[in-house]
């Protein structure tokens, strides 16, 4: 496996794991407080919809000329990655609330308890589970399709995502609790850096640029983006401290 393939697999695995942890919390809250069969039916329906998205979009994108694909899909991946990284930097600096699975679990259980009770099929549990898995899964599907299509490795990207899903679900089932100890915010930061790195690389190639050293430039590019992101966190924290001092 080349360095770029490993980077692709790690990026997709981490992004998928984070999204599955979030979806797992909601399904667990709804299933444990209402009806497991309806919640799991919602999960199944969402997974079928996501599989269809990947099965249709993956081959369709692979058919586009690589230059156009890298410019458009690489550009979209870059925009997507910058949004992840922006939120991660703001969270790390304390300017945005951290993602808290235990709080989300409690909120979802509270909302589920307030919804009207179901006799047979629980449409509330189905809808909440379906929506959670579909929305979180769409981000995974987008990353799988864009990464896979840009490198012509949709199967590798899909396998990395499937491994993440299997691992998180197995750990979650063993724990029977929200996976609050998963370092979700740090993982999101890492995914943001990875998505941005690959997005810069591919979209620039799509714009006609030749990188010195080809794919070997990915490692220094990643380190540059990571170092700059950490510097932004430090800068933001310092400014927030100064603001707090001035306000006090």
């Amino acid at each position: 496996m080349s360095g770029a393939q490993a980077g692709l697999a790690v990026s997709v695995f981490l992004a998928s794991a984070v999204e599955v942890v979030e979806a797992f919390t909601i399904v667990l809250a709804v299933g444990s407080s209402r009806q497991w069969s309806s919640a799991l039916a919602g999960v199944g329906a969402a997974l079928a919809a996501l599989a269809a998205v990947v099965a249709i979009a993956g081959p369709a994108l692979v058919g586009i000329p690589i230059g156009v694909l890298r410019l458009i899909v690489g550009g979209l991946l870059l925009i997507f990655g910058l949004q992840w990284l922006r939120k991660a930097i703001l969270r790390a600096a304390g300017a945005k609330a951290l993602h808290d699975e235990l709080a989300i679990f409690a909120e979802e259980r509270e909302a589920a308890a307030l919804a009207p009770a179901a006799r047979d099929f629980d449409s509330y549990g189905f809808a909440i589970s379906f929506k959670a898995v579909l929305l979180e899964g769409l981000e995974v599907a987008f990353i799988v399709v864009t990464f896979g299509a840009n490198r012509g490795e949709v199967p590798l990207a899909a396998a990395a995502a499937a491994l993440a899903v299997a691992l998180v679900v197995l750990v979650g089932l063993a724990a029977r609790a929200p996976l609050a100890r998963v370092p979700e915010n740090a993982m999101k930061f890492a995914v943001g850096v990875l998505l941005t790195t690959f997005g810069v690389f591919w979209s620039s190639e799509g714009a006609g640029t030749s990188w010195p050293g080809g794919e070997a430039v990915l490692a220094p590019l990643l380190l540059l983006i990571l170092a700059a992101s950490l510097a932004m966190v430090r800068d933001l924290r310092q400014r927030r401290t100064e603001t707090a001092t001035v306000s006090a």
Binding site: I79, L138, T209
Partner: protein, 71 residues
């Protein structure tokens, strides 16, 4: 229905700060232009992307940045 779908796609791809999408498109156009003129354009994207990220982070934390400047 189509309008709601379009809004959902927009918020999914573009997110909270639409300036990022516009700036990325502009930076890619600039990179393509520099490449066409024969310049070593590969230095541009990392610099431009980090500048876009810095601006977006600043915008996301506007109160801290504006107040920190005041005595």
């Amino acid at each position: 229905m189509i309008g709601r779908a379009a809004i959902a796609v927009w918020s999914f791809l573009v997110g909270e700060d639409w300036h990022v999408a516009v700036a990325v498109a502009a930076s890619l156009a600039l990179t393509a232009l520099a490449t066409a003129t024969g310049l070593p354009a590969w230095v541009l994207p990392p610099v431009l992307v980090l500048a876009i990220l810095y601006r977006s982070v600043r915008a996301g934390n506007r109160p801290a940045f504006s107040r920190a400047k005041s005595p």
